[in-house]
Subunit: 312 residues, 2 copies
């Protein structure tokens, strides 16, 4: 069983997921091995995944979206979820939680950018549903929903999918954001949104959302999407907001597809005050020793240039 | 000219280094182009680098170590170094500082692990010298010294080298560590060192240093090296401590060479209280959407297994 562990003195957590572990020798970098053609995420191979959680449309034999537990789960709903401390320096719990896979399309060769706005909007509604379900599970403190697209973004499985990890800790990044937000007498994200939509960093805008490249972008082509309404989570979206988000998301992802850029996207939502946002981070650069030693990131592209690219 | 920029509300800094910028189209991922055979870091090509800062042995035509400014510097000693704020959300300065390259050997095909302990110790002494010089430069708040070994660790140049970036900000990670250290009535790193050298995570030990895989390792095979004396910086090392550090570093790097593992290493040193340490982070895994959305890292290997590998 894996463990959740905290750094000795910092509020940095690590999940030690032994069930995904390789033996040391297996890390030895060798020439790439051609992958077996069989895809476990394709229709017809449903029996190769852990037991299905749900599908869309429900009970249809021609599913468009399919959700099941991750076979190589980083967290599992078993063991001791309480985070505790032995001597002064070892703070830990079992790696407790739920780890789900959301397959966005039955078609092996499609990527999310290829789907119609309607289908993307259905995927977003599935996010809402799975987040809501997992947030209500016992001993779950936060639900992370993210997509890893391509090898440089950390995925090993080609068939397009998202992942959800619900676990027993409120993430450091969310706590930091909550803390920072409290310093303002108003929602700083609302203010940022209003500032950036009149700046050179504005990329896309519709009735409900604004997309812009953030002022201190950490990655080339990093882009954020925020709802104009002060919403904490996707679970608070109105019907039409899924459609408007799908529209903007498709525009962004098509631009990244043009670049052949691997990317991550992930939801950032509040537990108290943080305004919901999606961060999309193409992985065209590598964080290296300087980033790891300082926390300061070197980005080789201005967000203003990136915004021009998105608008072009 | 580049800029140093802070996230809207978090104390996270980014250096926007426009002189390293590519045009958007150039990020398009294409098949690898064979690299030109000419290496600017090799003897005979000294005129291809910016003006030499120093070499070891001094004034020798057969240098073993050579230091010069980075041709594609992320920071430069020009512009406005003061960090200031426009409206509530844009905090910035010019990307001010010094960016140096330290070539560790004249031999193109050697890596740091191949050098004798004596030569590694000379490289470490060069670190000390360059850190001391840069710390005394005006408007410099911190000097980061790091190595990127291999493509996955963020380097594009094969000839083995380290880098130094001196800049106008105390890094977030160092501030966090300083803050965390202050919570203890004693040095927590001294206590950690004494705990870990009796644990399953101990890897190597000699008169002056202990190397262990940290309890909450963020990377497979992550390993830290700490001096037994409570030292804040490499600038405080005694002569013999360079030799003892070289001995342990060589052992670690030879293990990583066996794995063909790309890696970063970087010095972490205190501005007030943080006990000096070196963190060595092999890059055999990719931080993906979950890490970026939460700050929580998934590591697929226990540090106890990694320590066994180092000891074997």
């Amino acid at each position: 069983m894996g463990e959740l562990r905290k750094d000795y003195i910092l509020d940095k957590y690590v999940i030690i997921a032994t069930e995904r572990a390789k033996r040391p020798d297996e890390f030895k970098v060798e020439k790439k091995i051609e992958k077996n053609g069989m895809c476990h995420f394709c229709p017809g191979n449903e029996d190769q995944t852990p037991k299905e959680i749900e599908r869309f449309p429900e009970e249809s034999s021609n599913w468009q979206i399919r959700v099941f537990p991750n076979k190589y789960a980083a967290v599992k709903p078993e063991g001791k979820f309480e985070i505790r401390t032995d001597n002064s320096f070892y703070t830990f719990s079992d790696a407790f939680g739920y780890h789900e896979v959301i397959v966005e399309t039955p078609n092996h060769d499609e990527v999310l950018a290829d789907l119609s706005e309607e289908r993307i909007s259905n995927v977003l509604k599935m996010f809402k549903k799975r987040i809501a379900v997992n947030m209500n599970c016992q001993n779950i403190k936060y639900v992370s929903l993210f997509k890893n697209q391509g090898e440089k973004a950390g995925t090993s499985i080609q068939h397009t999918h998202c992942q959800l990890i619900a676990y027993n800790d409120v993430p450091e990044i969310i706590l930091e954001k909550e803390k920072a937000v409290k310093k303002y007498p108003y929602c700083p994200y609302c203010a940022i949104l209003n500032t950036e939509k009149n700046s050179f960093r504005r990329c896309f805008e519709n009735n409900s959302f604004v997309a812009f490249t953030p002022y201190a972008s950490r990655f080339p082509f990093e882009i954020w999407v925020l709802p104009k309404r002060h919403l904490l989570n996707i679970t608070d979206f109105k019907e039409e907001e899924f459609v408007f988000l799908a529209e903007i998301l498709k525009k962004i992802l098509l631009k990244l597809k043009f670049l052949n850029a691997d990317y991550n996207f992930y939801l950032q939502y509040g537990i108290e005050n943080v305004h919901f946002h999606i961060e999309i981070t193409p992985r065209l650069a590598t964080w290296a020793g300087f980033e790891l030693s300082t926390g300061t990131i070197i980005n080789t592209m201005t967000p203003e240039t990136a915004a021009e690219f998105y608008r072009s």
